[in-house]
Amino acid sequence: MQFRFIIAAAAAFALSFGGTQRASLAFDPPAAPPSVTPAPLEAPSPAASPGPAASSPFASPASPAPTSANVTPSAPPTPPTGRRLADFKVTADRIAFYSNRYIMEADGHVVVALGDGTHIAGNTFFYDLRLNRFVIAGAVRVTAALTEVKGAAFAEYFDFDRAYFLPILSQPDRWTFVAGDYAHPRFGRLEPGDTFFLPDLSGERVFLYAKNALVDPKQSVRFTPARINFGLTFVPFPTYFLNFSANPLFAQNALTGAYADGPLDFAGGEHSLATAHVRYDSIDHAFGAFELHEVSDNSYIVVSANPITRPLKQYNLLTFDRITPGVQIQSQIQETAFQSGFSRPLSATAYANVQLTASLAHSYLRLNDNSYFDSLLARPSTFGYDNGEQVYYYDDPTHPWIPDHPSNIQLTWSGFRHQINQLPIYFQLRSEAGVDTDTITPLQQLGGVNYYKEYDKALGIDITTKNITLRADPSGRHRDIYFTALFDRQREWFSLPHHIDTQVATGSITKVFDPQVIVLASYSNTNTGDFYGAQQSSAYPGSALYFNPFTGQTLQVSPGFRGFGTVRSFAQSLVFVPSEAIAFTTNMRENDDFPRPIPGTLQIIGDGLGYLNYGVTPYELDLDVRFRISRVFLLDVSRSNYFGFGGNQRWSQQFNFQVEK
């Protein structure tokens, strides 16, 4: 069994391309060194740099290269110009990119062509993509306006518009160029201490090799031609586009989950990124997908098609825009189509959500709209009969025509969390008004009357506590016992005269045995009551059978159910973290609910098969062990066990091999 997981992990690792995936379930994006303040930093002068770097100035920086500074440099003497953001090109006999460090290395006949026309040639080149600085060393020749000067090394700090050069004339010298003004070098100026340090990349994994690289500073690099490391071999590609923007909006993901995901960014720029994916899951097996990002500082559009190589396709469109500092709008539109290639779909459904949020003083308003389009296509001509009822379908009965278009719209108001006096107790208020509509299938039937539209309004409050120390450790080692509580109460009124009360009460106790070992126990009780008054028995006849109009299932409900349910959940957790390298977590949960949960059918849930249960499984045990294999590799093994439910759910297992930094 373990071999299967190891093989799966290895295959997924190869698929991951090791470099830039951000949607993968199995793997995370390549770990990269955090961006270090890109300042011209520590001067080599011992007097000016009392730190460790000064004590061993000849030593190469440790891995990752420490970048140190005496101070953040003063503002550049000239305003920022396009020069520092201009694309530049690197050609060499061999360019290597280290995805874990976000460092590009080039060797042999290196030529760097800056955006202002300057050419710098040398033997060896290093570019730190995040620090946005490079150094080129060995037989350096700097050429501009047909003038060439030879030297030993040249370093460029784009973010600070500083370049440092070690020319060799009759003797060596130190020159500093400010704001691209090569006409007026500052002679003899002390450089930052690590200006010419060469990063130690021994032991680092090369993600790709190339001969040309076009760099858009702080945004992207296009490598051509690229040979990408697939673990066992390097596979040639005509080009590889690397996006390393610090903008988190590029990480928005419009793809559904998959066991393994291999993204290949093939086009893009400062505001866009196009990615082809090779994915795998247990339903579609290996398949292709596509995703496109259009991103600015305050907005994004993400489009995806997944899978594109199977008939059942899902198209997603995510949008977001911060209209003003206090207002944002976001939407999600999803279409699911059964189609051959990209021909006219046999059947198609859609879902749309639009959310508008506006912040107020100590609260915010949100308008939320959901719309479901159960069949986007016109009514087909083919039909059959189901229990004597005429039903239409596209081509075959597995693609039924469902004309429903349910929707709801809600306007909610949510207050901030407020502390009650100086007590460790907080409260938060909320209210809501909305309407639900379905003109085809009634939302509800009561007394023989169909209701196609329902208005509702709601009020709610939650009261929470901070950690309250029940018993302080007299030794002062903080092996304390804490108590935390949550109480939530909500009432929702409907136009069909009834109301639903929901009340949640949760209490948790944490015992710290040691900073490395904690035990947590939590008990939660949720009561939900649907109050119809005199019509209670009509709305809830207490039948043992319940027909769910949305799944078509007739379910065996606990006898005696009259619209009042209770969920009782007792959970315990043990967390043991002996070091940064090892973590062990176990969670146990027991539920005693009314109505009793009902085992569901085996259905496609997400990227695999699962049981679509009604209610919470009574018992669950989760085990998770994480072990850090190396600086960037983390092994995570987790296992979930479900007991005594449906007779067919015993355990599930996950094996996660993660790249982390």
Binding site: P34, G82, E191
Partner: protein, 295 residues
Amino acid sequence: MRNGPQRWIYVLVAAVAVFVGSNGSNGLPARAASIPTPVDSAVMQTPPPLSATATPSPSGTLVKFAGQILDYRGGYCFFTTGDAYRIAPDVRIVDAATGGPTKLLPQTRVYARAGFDSGTGAIVELALSGKKLPDEASYQSVKKFAVAMSTEVPNPDLGTGEGFNGKPVPVIFVVEVPPKTPFGDQIYLATDASGWSATAIRMDRIDALHYKVTRTYPSGTRLLYRYTRGSWQSADVDQNGLAMHSRLLLVRNTDIQSRNDVVYSWQDENRFSPDNGSALPTPFNPVPFNLPPHR
């Protein structure tokens, strides 16, 4: 003032330097300027000291230092500190481990232990290695041998004040999550250094409301980060309901650093649907008042 020959040397130096005009104000990269005439800058320099050992006299005493070679040419050996040192005509190039002959060449990236004649300041022995060599004497003891035409002048960019020395600093992230966070959910730290993966760094629960993780970064690190529950659809949002801006961490030269953050809400949190255990087959859940999941 410089004497005549020196002055001409500097005029010549300036004349052959690389000069490119700075950008215009339109944000577009400017083209390289025509040959500049930085004579004024050059002649205003103070006379360049050749080194502290301008009149060498061999002493026979060796001072050894280990470092990495940046370049080796023109009778000089450059180290990654940016310093250039004279090479004695009869320099011995040996293997750092054995002291015997070596196949390594003194060139960029090669590690070297340089033996300086304390009298001449020149390198008389260069022991090469493909691996980093242990430190020997201090930088100060060889700094005086460095050769440069220009007088060393302070760099106003470096100024004064606190600096970063790049030492590894354990950073403890502690986050308080909303009380309604589902009990079994995992909390993750997403950072720009990990490509904003929503599951980049998993945190460990320390009590009912708090999660913690410790990561070590060199001081000077500037890290952007967010908290998630495993996806960007369940990322943290601000108390005002709007999407969060990335949180910023700047690692200082401390022995340990901690960040205490609060997540007020998650993006997928529906405050009007208390978590009462998925879809019970009842009229109040999931239909008709919470619309069904999309088929």
